[in-house]
Amino acid sequence: MKKPSLAGIITVIVLLLVNLPILVIIPSSFTAAGYLSFPPEGFSFRWYAKIFERPEFIDSFWVSLQLAVITAVLAALFGTLAAFALAKYKFRGSQVINSLLLSPLTVPSLIIGIAALLFFTRIGLAGTFAGLLLAHVLISVPYVVRLVLTGLSSFDFTLEKAGYMLGASPARVFWDITLPLLRPAIVSGMIFSFLTSFDNVTVSLFLVAPDTTTLPLAIFSYMQETLDPLVASISSVVILLSLVFIVILEKVYGLDRLFGLQSQSH
């Protein structure tokens, strides 16, 4: 066997460290004690039962879920349309439009949140679900544009032409030729938008109304007041849900490809 290298040892340590916070939460959530301890004392589901006694977590979960689903659909739709305009039609100023569409990625989301609050207050959107949704769509569209543009860069537009020549209607060409070829890019854009919205704190922070708080924000607020195993049980539920989506993303598109795109954007 090969002697383990220094880089290899450090890699194992780093991989353990970045996964450690996730790995400790799950055993902590099954504790029978009334507080967080090491090692967790006993085994029980009491902290999972407790979730249902806290309406703020149940309500905010539904808000987050609705918000993330609608954000994913709208961002995927708008982003795909925009990417199409940029890739298919070479028009003057398309470079400028491209950078404009990606510009929200270059500004910290905290600042996007503050700016949106100031503006939304003037036009009556502050504290509304619509305002929150629009802001989430704004921060998700750039990822979809990037993903679909990459997908379109290898797209052969003569396939569309062939479809037309064979007498297919534009709608038929779109559904039967264009869409299936772009499906991995669009689906990844949709899932990534879902996760972006579902995890967001810093934009939502400024735009939620007291009765429409989102799940990560509810956990964030609760954590600043109390630290008990309830945070662990609710977090475990979110971790499980996120893992499902992460596995789908990995299968559909590949996390490395996805993040290669993401890290270039800042």
């Binding site: 290298s5 450090i10 996964n19 996730i22 990560p216 600043q224």
Partner: protein, 280 residues
């Protein structure tokens, strides 16, 4: 559908949202930041920041925490990138997955995990106390160290990926050639691997620094009330004190100082590269 009509129609939804939720709000924020409490044009908010040692202290703390995060991410992330560049495709895929997957789970949840590990009654303290290594709990949380640990965890993936990507494009046979020509492993590292990974290091440093400067959640949850950084102060001005013009000015100062420092760093990095080229 003619292209004259198609392009505006396809772009309209995204551009309308961009205008109404980003460009106009940023413009309004700029105007507000340049107003005093009588709603007259003034640089008061910006001057306050420069003159008040409280705010310059906050800025310095924000920069200090970000620089430590960059250093930690680089020291821990660089070996990982080297390991990935030399690994087989399968191992590389596993490492990529294990470093990226936690990245897609909410930062609030990851920070909570760190609180469980690092807290006064956390796993590390209980472990060290039980084996008698320490006699009172270490303070690993609610100070700058806690924030730096949380931020490094959040952003190290960007550093690893930036360096690894730059190394993937480098011909691995170069270090082999160096070895064949008799270079020691240390010599080969400093003369071949390190210079070739510099573009990736520069990209990673810039990225991690910018992200750390504007981080809000981790300083709030792992720094507590004692480690207030610029984003936290801006949040308080907007949401608690309700001084929106000052909050707006603080936002632009955060954005401006980050851009300035990144530009300065890029400039320094480029000058160094020119020197290397002309010296050889």
């Amino acid at each position: 559908m003619g292209r004259r009509l198609a392009v505006p129609l396809l772009l309209a939804p995204s551009l309308i949202i961009l205008l109404g939720v980003f460009l106009l709000p940023m413009l309004l924020m700029l105007v507000l930041s340049l107003q005093n409490d009588q709603q007259q044009f003034s640089f008061e908010n910006y001057l306050l920041f420069i003159q008040d040692p409280f705010y310059t202290g906050i800025l310095w703390r924000t920069i200090r925490v970000s620089l430590w995060t960059v250093l930690f991410s680089l020291l821990l992330g660089f070996p990982v990138a080297i390991y990935m560049a030399n690994a087989s495709g399968k191992v590389r895929g596993i490492v990529t997955m294990l470093i990226l997957a936690p990245h897609l789970i909410s930062v609030v949840i990851r920070n909570f995990g760190w609180v469980v590990v690092l807290g006064e009654k956390g796993w590390i303290n209980e472990l060290l106390l039980s084996i008698g290594f320490i006699h009172e709990p270490l303070r690993l949380l609610y100070n700058e160290l806690g924030v730096v640990i949380g931020l490094t965890d959040s952003f190290i993936a960007y550093m690893v990926l930036a360096i690894a990507t730059s190394l993937y494009s480098v011909d691995q046979s170069l270090s082999k050639a160096a070895a064949i020509l008799g270079a020691s492993r240390i010599r080969s590292f400093f003369d071949v691997t390190l210079p070739l990974s510099l573009p990736g290091i520069y990209a990673g440093v810039t990225l991690v620094f910018s992200l750390s400067m504007s981080a809000f959640v981790t300083p709030s949850l792992m720094g507590g009330t004692s480690v207030k950084v610029l984003p936290v102060i801006a949040y308080e001005q907007v949401m608690s004190t309700l001084n929106w013009p000052l909050g707006a000015a603080l936002s632009f100062l955060l954005l401006g100082s980050t851009i300035l420092l990144v530009a300065l760093f890029t400039r320094l990095a480029e000058t160094k590269r020119y020197k290397e080229v002309f010296a050889s």
